[in-house]
């Protein structure tokens, strides 16, 4: 058996690939569910009901999907220019920290600025913090060829320690009974609720809007062409006069800014303050989402909702049937592998001999 490149990628294959991948994922995971001794049909029904089956389920899924959209986009934008930013998690936390630094109730009151200006400063600070964190790895890669996977990944741990330092020190909430928790954000800086009696906040609209904007930039502007060229054929890109280094730097900074925005959105939209367990690995999940979406910004939106749905749905399901909620992680992982194989098969066909 060997793989042979297809001359033409059939259009229907592009639609069929993700559907097949999902079907394969459910089939494979059904074996695990059966192994755990639970009825497969009922387990899946509970999973989907818990994710999308009620108003509450749906709003919870959308709330969970919001930070994933930001980190997924952060990853997709960087990967497209072949800058492998694995540090969205750290950039998220640094963005959140910056948001609290600018907008927090320090000493009970915080900075006294007009609300619109203060709000804009908070957002910008979060994006700048995320971008600044990628700047080092990006320059190291461009100037010295240092592998950005290593540098961005290791910075995640440094940032977590920094956040821990701040939460036990200058930004500690005196009213938190000793818990490592930051001061709260000024209430007037918090994002508005989109839906009554739910946690869905306007960060969701920002995420979707940014996805659409990124998509349009990639499709209709010369930036998109530069991104794609640098990402697929860096030496040819240089040959035709694309400033490869500044394209990579630009993509890296935008990526960091998106991830920083994820942190702002979590603090200002959901929690209202910063803790060390604010993100259950949203930065890393962003990598999975970007790959599932084949680096397409609009695909990121859908993949984020799918993954958030699995995570939220599994929480509900595990209360009814004897299947641990870890099944959600397995589903996500299998979905990623299936999707990668399916995407490959749209471009190659299997031939015997």
């Amino acid at each position: 058996m060997r793989l042979e490149r297809r001359d033409v990628v059939p259009r229907e294959a592009l639609v069929l690939a993700p559907l097949t991948a999902v079907a394969v994922t459910l089939a494979v995971c059904a074996l695990l569910v059966a192994w755990a001794g639970a009825p497969v049909g009922r387990t899946y029904a509970l999973l989907f009901e818990g994710a999308f089956g009620s108003r509450f389920a749906l709003t919870e899924t959308l709330t969970r999907a919001t930070p994933l959209m930001f980190t997924g986009m952060a990853t997709a934008v960087a990967f497209r220019a072949r800058f492998f930013n694995i540090g969205a998690e750290g950039q998220l936390y640094l963005g959140a920290l910056a948001a609290v630094a600018v907008g927090g109730l320090h000493d009970g009151s915080g900075f006294d600025l007009p609300v619109p200006l203060h709000f804009a400063l908070m957002i910008l600070a979060g994006m700048a913090a995320g971008g600044a964190l990628v700047l080092g790895p990006a320059l190291l890669k461009i100037r010295l060829g240092v592998d950005e996977v290593v540098t961005t990944l290791l910075l995640n741990f440094i940032v977590l320690l920094l956040v821990s330092l701040m939460l036990d020190g200058p930004m500690k909430d005196p009213g938190a009974m000793g818990w490592p928790q930051s001061v709260g954000l000024k209430p007037e800086l918090e994002f508005t609720r989109l839906i009554d009696k739910s946690r869905v906040h306007s960060g969701l609209l920002v995420a979707i809007g940014l996805a659409a904007l990124t998509w349009a930039v990639q499709r209709f502007t010369i930036w998109g062409f530069e991104w794609r060229s640098v990402g697929t054929s860096p030496s040819a890109a240089r040959f035709i006069g694309i400033p490869v280094n500044s394209v990579v730097l630009r993509a890296a900074l935008i990526s960091g800014a998106f991830a920083g925005l994820a942190g702002v959105s979590e603090v200002a939209g959901r929690a209202g303050y910063l803790t060390l367990d604010m993100s259950p690995g949203y930065g890393y999940a962003g990598i999975v989402i970007a790959m599932l979406a084949a680096l397409n910004p609009l695909g990121v939106v859908l993949a984020s909702i799918f993954i958030a749905g699995m995570l939220v749905g599994a929480d509900g399901m595990t209360r009814e049937v004897p299947v641990p909620s870890y099944i959600a992680d397995v589903i996500v992982a299998v979905a990623l592998i299936s999707m990668l194989v399916a995407t490959m098969l749209t471009r190659y066909r299997i031939r015997r001999g």
């Binding site: 042979e4 001359d7 502007t221 010369i222 062409f225 890109a237 040959f239 035709i240 006069g241 001999g353």
Partner: protein, 518 residues
Amino acid sequence: MTMGEPALRLTGISKRFGALLANDDISLELGRGEVLALLGENGAGKSTLVSILFGDYRPDAGSVEAFGRRLEPGDPAAALAAGIGMVHQHFTLADNLDVLDNVLIGTEPWWRPMSRRTAARSRLLELAARFGLQVDPSARVGDLSIGEKQRVEILKALYREARILILDEPTAVLAPQESIQLFATLRSFVEAGLSIIFISHKLGEVLSVSDRIAVLRQGRLEAVLPTHQADAPTLSMLMVGRSIERPVRPAPMQPAAGQAAIPALSVDRVDVREGARQLLRSASLSVNPGEIVAIAGIAGNGQQALADLVCGLRSPDAGTVRVEGKALGADPIEWIRAGVGRIPEDRQHLGVIAAASIAENAVAEHYREPPYARGGWRIDRAAIDQAATRIVADYDVRCRDIGQATSQLSGGNIQKLLLGRVLSRHPRLIIADQPTWGLDVGAIAWIHARLMSAAAQGAAVLLISEELDEIFALADRIAVISHGQLSGALPVSHWTIQSLGLAMTGSLKHQQAASDAT
């Protein structure tokens, strides 16, 4: 010459890649002690056929027998065990290992704790002495010249007791004199009882080295004939299937009298170093409007550094490079803005963005300028498509539509697209680095004609080529590059194939003198 079973028998071999029928029902025999030449244009199916022989590919139909025994298809190990040795066109050597390790690799059982290097070394030296293939077993392969690497490849096959040797375009990387040496070696193999398949697209070599000639065209076996019955015109006709008109150089434009012409390109005492290696030393060259200056040389003698220099990819460590009197740096955009048309050697990886569409690649050097980018940021697809449609039509790029990914084009069509992208801007300086490498005869003639007419219209052309025929067909002046040194560019009438070959191997003489002395 044959006795008993033939060394190799191919029966009804067919192989299809997508829409392309690479081998169509080929049946062929290789006699024992015979040199069979496999002749055909690029893309005729020669490489596919030997890849099937060697087990790299599995045929869709047909079978291979070696010394009367059927070979398991798609299994190189079986081919090796049956005594088939292959010298690939692109060497399969590990540059970071020494010669002995490269020869030994894969020949020793994995469970033996120590490799028997002493015995292996003496066996290798014995083989080398017997066939006159001098190499130093402890030299690092990365430090060897291309000719030496080829000897290592051949020794590797002999060490594995190959009785059938397949050489894929072995002379493509050799100077004329080195080729003659190789042919003598091949003769000594035949005397030692080996059978040889010799793949080439050069008629002269095939006629001088083979016993029989098999001609492939478009995947089919066109003819098999004894060499003494063949001549160049017949073979050429069989190979191409039609007669190709060689373009004739039109008279170049004379610069107006009294007007001191500024050279379009002038390279002045340029050094290029990479680590400890000196890629170019004090190289000087100038190309005037309307003339074609060719750089002849064996691959790997500094052509890459020179090409990088005059494509704006690399800056010199000393000296200057000027275009129309203006010094340019190592930034491709400066060269594009200066109106330099650049056709790189690596057309697939440097010339085009493989994943981008044909239309995007057709205007790729100018994507950020109007009319392709409006306001400097918004892509105007209609303008790009319009320009691309014209280039595709004018330069005969065969494609389904211009929205197709460029990676789907054949090498020849990618080259036409590149030529179209460059020549449609009427550049005053054209850098053509191996412009016809790997193309078929028709495409070669077409590209030659385009370069000639550009020169006739006043463009300066710098041609870097390893094909002497091409150089003699196109050039006004020829400079030779050898070990990073560039000779003066002398008028073509000054040179003969022999003198050019000698100049190309300039320092090879020293090596030979050294090895004769020992």
